[in-house]
Amino acid sequence: MAAFAAPPPVSASAPAPPPLTLLNVSYDPTRELYQEFNAAFIRHWKKTTGQDVAIKQSHGGSGKQARSVIDGLGADVVTLALAHDIDAIASSGLIAKDWRGKLPQGSTPFTSTIVFLVRKGNPKGIRDWEALARPGLSVITPNPKTSGGARWNYLAAWGDALKKNKGDAGARALVEGIFKNVPVLDSGARGATTTFVQRGMGDVLLAWENEAILALKSPGGDRLEMVAPPVSILAEPPVAIVDRTVDKKGTRAVAEAYLRYLYSPEGQSIAAQHGYRPRTPEAAKVRAFAPVKLFTLESVFGSWEKAHAAHFADGASFDRIYQK
């Protein structure tokens, strides 16, 4: 207790500025991306302002992370898997409601999509979404109720059926067929990857493109192969400043610079190296992305709010798959 009672000695001449720290609360598969990006931003910030900044990261299922921020985890910025989770934080008053307009491209500095990861040589010949519903196939995906990535998986399959003019009934049949083939529902994307790669469960893993690229480079990756479906969803994982925190801590300037740096040539190039689809054509040259016809969530489902209410809310279409 004595340590708290005695104030630390303060030098009278130049009061040192308080050390700057940022907490980036992010979703599951972005660990490696932000490790590298943070180091780049720290260098950039030191060079342009002379200030040192320390950046802490927190990762987990997107919904759980949003929940922690709402419950008081002091995030300066959130970089989550889907807009719905940031909207949830915004509706608790921590983030301004118009957060999507504050940064370019709807506050989404890079995008991704959903692809298939299969065993080497693609022994089951899986090429498109319809193949996933074949009886006897084993499909690994996390739980759409808890995982942002899994919601994109689900919506990608649903949207693919709609694009083929099969209507809502056809889409429901396809998605039901796929989830009938799912033997394990992990709560997050990284857990599902472990189940598929490490435990050897399943014939195909539905994964973020960046997570698939990372898995191919990880131990055991040489026994895997990535299959890009002809059509998939444009997954947009957005970013936002947590207004309440940065105003209290006085970190708004550095937090804003941090998120804006994601749009810089260096930020875009790091994102591309980690398998995220960058916004700038220059960064897109870093790696060859599979030619997938991408549709946006808005073009098929209207908005996250509508997609959530129709598919993922309690008693909505995902729950009904299991309650027959």
Binding site: K64, N143, A313, Q323
Partner: protein, 270 residues
């Protein structure tokens, strides 16, 4: 009044309030914000009911297995000195010390379809990981120390001479167990059972890895609490938690009553 009673009573009540009652009352307050109908609706969904059935069944089954195995282990540890007994004795507590997630991941690696034990078992047509059986297995692992540790001191206090005397008087082995040993062991045995059960009912970390988490099939109630929280449904989560809490509390309360009764079955003051 006993000297020092006000102080010790005050400290006890304050400590229990801070550590136990305050967090629990928050839970009840969170649930209390729901209307009765909403509370019932949150619990009545087939998915929630299925998770309760699974959690209760698995916790009961696991507590029964842990109690049976625990009696054997405690018996051997108390009655049969063997080399390395102290070492084995300290192994018993490991499930307490090991982070439950580690236990879950280890069990899944062992019993998964490509695991050391999982592969040969699967060849025999027995699936462990990602089935209710896997859940019971994880809960037995977690619950075993409760059973062993509650039985050990009681067994150590039992004088083997009493059993010998019973044998001399012509009691069969079965009679010795049922009429001499069991009455002495029963309270501790039941305590171990209920502790293992209550612990198993709420266990999350070790189970989510091995269960497969399929709605209606292998989704335990604590996982559903997490799921509801991640869907921003705090009230629904609190409703499930309140029910789990009530079940555990009733179980422990019944046990306390039974122990009081078995210590003094006639109810007369001694």
């Amino acid at each position: 009044m006993l000297p020092g009673l006000p102080v010790s009573l005050g400290v006890t009540v304050a400590a229990i309030s801070l550590v136990v009652l305050l967090p629990l009352s928050t839970l009840v307050v969170a649930t209390g914000s729901m209307k009765g109908a909403a509370f019932r609706a949150a619990l009545a969904s087939p998915r929630v009911m299925a998770s309760f059935t699974l959690s209760l069944g698995a916790a009961l089954g696991a507590a029964a297995v842990a109690s049976a195995a625990g009696l054997l282990i405690a018996w051997v540890l108390v009655r049969h000195p063997f080399p390395g007994r102290n070492f084995v004795d300290s192994l018993i507590d490991l499930p307490f010390a090991l982070p439950t997630a580690v236990a879950g991941i280890t069990l899944t690696t062992l019993y998964g379809p490509s695991g050391w034990l999982g592969r040969p078992l699967e060849a025999l047509g027995i699936k462990v990981a990602y089935t209710p059986f896997g859940i019971v297995l994880a809960l037995v692992f977690i619950g075993l120390p409760f059973s062993v540790r509650t039985l050990q001191p009681v067994l150590a206090d039992l004088d083997p001479e009493v059993e010998e005397a019973a044998a001399c008087l012509g009691a069969s082995r079965r009679q010795i167990f049922l009429r001499v040993l069991l009455p002495k062991l029963l309270p501790a045995w039941l305590t171990g059972f209920s502790l293992a059960f209550a612990r198993g009912l709420g266990e999350y970390g070790s189970v989510v890895f091995i269960s497969g988490n399929m709605p209606m099939k292998t989704e335990i109630a604590p996982l559903l609490i997490m799921t509801k929280l991640e869907q921003y449904d705090t009230a629904g989560a609190a409703a499930i938690a309140t029910v789990l809490l009530a079940i555990s509390f009733l179980m422990l309360l019944a046990l306390n009553r039974f122990e009081a009764w078995s210590a003094n079955p006639t109810g007369r003051a001694r």
